[in-house]
Symmetry: C2
Subunit: 203 residues, 2 copies
Amino acid sequence: MNLPDPIKNFIHHFSKLPSIGPRQATRLAFHVIGSGKDEIDGIIKSLEGLEGMSICEKCFFVFLPQDKDDKLCEICRDKKRNSKLIAIVEKETDLISIEKTNKFNGNYFIIGSLQKNGVLGSEQKRRLEKLKAVIEKELGGQADEIVIATNPTTYGDFNAAILGKELKDLAKKITRLGRGIPTGGEIEFADEDTLGQALERRN
Amino acid sequence: MNLPDPIKNFIHHFSKLPSIGPRQATRLAFHVIGSGKDEIDGIIKSLEGLEGMSICEKCFFVFLPQDKDDKLCEICRDKKRNSKLIAIVEKETDLISIEKTNKFNGNYFIIGSLQKNGVLGSEQKRRLEKLKAVIEKELGGQADEIVIATNPTTYGDFNAAILGKELKDLAKKITRLGRGIPTGGEIEFADEDTLGQALERRN
C-alpha cells in the first residue's frame, strides 16, 4: 500500500537522524499523528527553539546567544576558566559528562565524531585548523596542556595518536584521560566518580 | 552543567516518543542543531504535514482527508472491499504489513497497543465499543468473520482470547492468523510470504 505523502515526508526526515531507521520513523509518524495537534505543536516549537542556538566559533559547543554578536559559548567566555588547558572531545555529550565531574576548569574543543579508519574526516581537519589558529593567536603558539579525551577504545586510542601527532608542537604537554574508565567503555556512560578519577590521574 | 532551555525543551518533547530516551533525545538535539536551519525547517515542515492527517472514525487508521468532510480512510471508503470481514490489529504498521500481502480484502480495525496484564485499557475499551456499534449499525449486528490479528505471542494469544470473548456474538466466525508465522515473533517483522500463508490458513 502507498503511504500518504505527509507520512513519507516525515519518514524521509526522521530516518536521517542518528539511531532512527525507516521502521522506527514509520512508527513515530503514527504515534505523533495519534498524539494530537497540541503535542505536535509542542514538538514543532521545541525544534524552532533549537534554531535559536548557535555553535561556538572557538570550541564548537552549542550555546544560546544573548545577542546577535555572541560568538562564544559560556565556557569559552568564562574568564575564570583556564584557557591554556584544552580538552578535546568527540561530541557534546562527552563535554557534558566531563563538566558534571566539576574537576575540569579548562576549555573544551569538540572535534566531532571520529572515523574508524585512522584518517581524519574533512570536518575534523577543518576544526583542527581552527584549534591550531586559536592556540597560535590566543596562546602565543602553545597551550599548557591538551587533554585528548577520546574514548578509551581501540579507535579512540588510534585517533588520539593521530591528534597527538598533529598537535605535538602546540602544547607543553599532551595527555589522555587516566584509565580509571574501564578500557572498551565509553565516556558518555561512565559514572561521575570514575570520570573524575580519570581526570585526576590523566597522564 | 545546566543545559540551555531550548535543548531541555527539545529533550522533554522527544524523550516522550516511543523508543527514544532522554539520552538519545540529548544526542538528537546536538545533531539537529549541527544539521543547520534548512534541515530543521524540513523536519518542522514534515511535522506540520502530519497535522493535516486524520484518524478514520471507523477503523482508527490514519488518512489524508481530501476535504474536511472526509471521516473515513481509503480502505473503509473502498466499496470493493468486503466490510463484513474485519481484521483487528494492534497497530498501523501491522495493517501495512497485512496490506502488503495483497491477500486480504476485508476491512481493518486498529485496537491500539494491548497491555500485558490481561485487561483491556480504557482506550481499547473505547475503541471496542466503536467496533461493536459499527457492526450493529452497518452489518445488522453480525460480521461474517473477525480475524483477531494480534501477535502470536503469549500476550497476543491472551489478548486475542479477551477480544474473542467480547466479540463472540458479533461475528459468524472468529479466527486468528494461521501459525505460519513463527510463534514468539512479531507481525511487523514477518516477510510478506509468511504473512500471506498465515492469512490463507487462518482458522
